[in-house]
Symmetry: D2
Subunit: 128 residues, 4 copies
């Protein structure tokens, strides 16, 4: 099978860099909308969730790396209602997409200046 059996569905003018940017967007949209809302109580819950999010990114096509760091205040773990839930602003995510020779590194983090959880492209290039 060719390296991308779905390539023929894309417009022929889409460059590898554009495709890699598109794939990076899909991955970050997935992270935001799939994982926010998960209840968290203990520090161990946080560590293992970071791995699950990384695995989910890497499960999808052309995502070759992912690093997730969750920055969250946990409550007093002995009180029934003092747990928290994952919010997008708690996540610091970096992913790498490789499509053909194009590489895109993209990130998701809360930008205080914008008061916005921004998904953005940190690096885009074509390998030699």
């Amino acid at each position: 099978m060719s390296f991308d059996p779905a390539k023929k569905y894309f417009h022929k003018d889409v460059t590898d860099r554009e495709r890699a940017a598109f794939e990076a967007g899909i991955a970050l949209g997935m992270v935001i909308h799939q994982f926010t809302g998960i209840p968290l109580r203990r520090r161990e819950d946080v560590k293992i969730l970071e791995q699950v999010i990384e695995n989910a990114v890497k499960a999808q096509p052309f995502k070759i790396d992912a690093k997730v760091s969750i920055n969250i205040d946990l409550g007093n773990t002995d009180e029934p209602y003092e747990y928290t839930t994952l919010k997008t602003k708690n996540m610091d995510v970096k992913i790498t997409v490789k499509y053909g020779r194009a590489v895109v590194k993209a990130a998701l983090r809360h930008i205080d200046e914008l008061d916005y959880n921004l998904a953005y492209i940190e690096e885009i290039r074509e390998e030699e």
Copy 2:
């Protein structure tokens, strides 16, 4: 703090068994609607996701135990589009709620006869 600072918001006629049944329903509704859709490619992804779901259940009030088993066929992990995503029918979940002296054990699994992912109560009792 009393064992349940939210008790006063519930109608006074709600028994401990009824409250435990309510809490069990919340937990299973959470599992279904929070976790389905997560991309999965490798067997290790599945094992760690089971733990994350168990942790999420136990993070919420009065859930004292959770056991999650995901039964899923993974594709050929080398092909880009041959991964899968978690579906409700892949989950076999058992949770235990304890509220006051009431204990409820509830489950979620696909029932072939109904062709339905059924959340149901397997055991309900009041401890001596």
Copy 3:
């Protein structure tokens, strides 16, 4: 078909009130974990989303009524990053479950005193 083909999967000691409480919990767990995160920009977006949430509750078994009110500040709709996303604390939900002769009215709303989005039972009774 009997009124509940799934009844045999429940423990025989589960009363109709307990079952109704369980179903109410499932519905509110679904609302919290399915809908939080939806992007919203215009007042019309909010109104129609309230209806979609009500429909989703009523689609599931034994939920006979649902009323959803979303209380949310929308930003300046002309600036690209000034939209918002639905959070659980924005929702004021009331649902009614009827199972056999048992009726449960349950609610979800942010309780300031607890700083918690509480799902609770407002009324539970058996019809004559």
Copy 4:
């Protein structure tokens, strides 16, 4: 305010076409992971959900159009367990992103040949 206060967070080499492709990916990742799982029973539920998904896409930055069509078999609406839930394969989505002079039209639909819900770029161009 400039048309994009977040532009400075992106690498300077990112073209408008690449940015538009990235934004299209975010939108389709959001659609897949936010909306699948919603319970549906009546034809009216489906119609209004299509609008909510369109509104959600258009709420986010630089998405200027969205068209969602849900193709789904509803069960016998009188039986308690015969409703359905939205799956990604039921969705036929077309979105348009405009960033600067770049326009991207992207789609999400189930591709039988791949047995995959493919997000892809149908058109990419720079306006005169």
